[in-house]
């Protein structure tokens, strides 16, 4: 069963949606027919404004994650390797980690206003902790015998990190980043609902408030698809990174 076979039920679902709409079973003010959503989707995809919204969402995601990944991995590994760092950072991480990250949205509005920086900072802070925790657990779990052998063989701190700790911790760190990737989309869309003048989340909210429901559903499908493909792309990257493990 190939990719097409696997996803065939989705096609059936869309066909059932269209058929139910045509038969008048679905109130078009609650759910427009698939054909009108599809033509609205075509309209969105041929409108340069959509790409402007998409570009600013992408910038926020890349900015937030691009900061959170190196900082989070460094903090996590630092905590695992140094008692001082652990004593300083761990209690803070353990206290803030369970906090629902969306609660930071109003703080970001106050601190940074409605601009680009507020969204990037939100995604950075929200994604930082899952990455710190996964990197910490991963680096803590590295086989001590490996570390001792490398040290005995004369490896310096840098070599130890590059040759032993990072490769051994890599699978768990990559899995933590995958969680953060999903969370970054949630925070992106939520913050764009609440505090933005552009971006795909703003586009959805704007179309919804304007009552342009076929285009709103089309935009929701676009964001869903982007989240799905971002995850698939990351999964392929993860497998590529872990190829040496067989």
């Amino acid at each position: 069963m190939g990719v097409i076979g696997r996803y065939f039920p989705l096609v059936l679902l869309l066909a059932a949606w269209e058929a139910a709409s045509q038969a008048g079973l679905i109130d078009p003010s609650l759910l427009p027919a698939f054909s009108s959503v599809a033509s609205a989707l075509w309209g969105l995809l041929s409108d340069p404004d959509t790409y402007r919204h998409g570009a600013s969402s992408l910038l926020r995601l890349c900015g937030g994650l691009g900061l959170a990944i190196p900082v989070g991995v460094a903090l996590g590994i630092g905590m695992a390797r140094s008692e001082t760092m652990r004593v300083i950072v761990n209690p803070l991480v353990q206290t803030i980690y369970p906090m629902p990250k969306s609660a930071l949205i109003p703080v970001m509005i106050m601190w940074l206003g409605l601009g680009q920086a507020a969204k990037i900072a939100l995604i950075f802070l929200g994604c930082l902790l899952p990455i710190v925790v996964s990197a910490y657990n991963a680096a803590r779990g590295v086989d001590l015998v490996l570390i001792w052998s490398a040290q005995n063989a004369g490896a310096g701190r840098g070599e130890l990190l590059r040759e032993i700790i990072l490769p051994a911790a890599m699978p768990e760190i990559l899995a933590g980043v995958r969680t953060a990737l999903a969370l970054s989309f949630v925070l992106l869309v939520s913050s764009e609902f609440l505090m933005a003048r552009d971006g795909l989340g703003y586009l959805i909210a704007f179309l919804g408030e304007g009552g342009i429901y076929d285009a709103m559903f089309a935009a929701v499908l676009v964001v869903t698809a982007l989240g799905f493909f971002a995850d698939r792309l990351y999964l392929a990257f993860m497998q590529y990174m872990l190829v040496w493990r067989g």
Binding site: P9, N90, P98, S102, M110, A182, F185, F193, M216, G227
Partner: protein
């Protein structure tokens, strides 16, 4: 490692070191805010924030907001738990159901479900029902996936032995499959609960109607930074309490399991 073998000094060090930096950070917050290094709008002092939490508690508004947020999050969580497990189990037992649901779940699991918030507003209005269903929808996918994976991973010999010993399908489900899949289901529920909290707070911010999220966004609108930070403190404590409660439930439910024996 038995606790009694660890020297008192070591245990004392562990206890202090596990909170010391948090206490220092809270004191630093107070000192920096009092010293007017940054404006009190950007960073109100911890004492002002705690006084606000206390006033909100006296006025009763804290308990109203707390009640609505916890009720919505837990109602969504309960729906996701019940229907997620039911759908997950039926996936492993029925090939047609699996064929239909498998692509939906593989698309839905990584997708940002919060994007459907305006759709839920359109369908279910602005009140509790749409917030609860939004939380349930956002958190059900990991439960379905974990239940299906857990039930599929059950040792076939256990199932065959139970059947040949005369167990009914219901007994096999209740006595073999559910307990064996339980650790994975509970892990998924531990993923689902924070999602429910995140989503509930976002939908309260978007739709209003009481709750900690609505109260925080109102404070931000009126540039009441003490109110926003009071909300952060309340949300953080609520999050920790709910997550610790679920960890407690996990330990109770898995008392028989290896993970609780160590």
């Amino acid at each position: 490692m038995a606790a009694s073998r660890v020297p008192v000094a070591t245990r004392l060090w562990h206890a202090t070191s596990s909170v010391a930096s948090l206490v220092v950070a809270l004191i630093a917050w107070e000192v920096v805010a009092r010293a007017n290094v940054v404006s009190s709008f950007l960073l109100p002092s911890l004492s002002d924030v705690l006084v606000r939490v206390y006033t909100q508690a006296l006025e009763g508004q804290l308990f109203v907001d707390l009640f609505f947020t916890v009720w919505r999050a837990l109602a969504g969580f309960t729906l996701a738990g019940i229907f997620g497990v039911l759908i997950g189990l039926s996936l492993t037992r029925n090939r047609v159901v699996r064929w239909i649901f498998d692509p939906l779940i593989s698309v839905g699991l990584p997708a940002p479900k919060i994007a459907f918030l305006p759709v839920f507003i359109l369908w279910f209005g602005l009140f509790d029902i749409s917030k609860i269903l939004m939380a349930a929808f956002a958190s059900i996918f990991p439960v379905i996936a974990a239940t299906a994976a857990g039930a599929q991973g059950v040792d076939k010999f256990l199932v065959w032995s139970a059947r040949s010993a005369g167990a009914s399908e219901r007994q096999v489900l209740g006595e073999i499959i559910m307990p064996a899949a339980m650790p994975e289901i509970l892990t998924a529920l531990q993923v689902a609960l924070p999602i429910c909290m995140i989503v509930t707070i976002v939908s309260e911010m978007t739709m209003g109607g009481d709750g900690l999220g609505a109260s925080m966004l109102n404070s931000a609108r009126f540039a009441d930074s003490v109110g926003v930070f009071a909300g952060i403190v309340e949300v953080a404590i609520t999050g920790i309490v709910l997550i610790k409660m679920l960890e407690f439930v996990r330990r109770r439910l898995l008392q028989w399991h290896q993970e609780s024996q160590s």
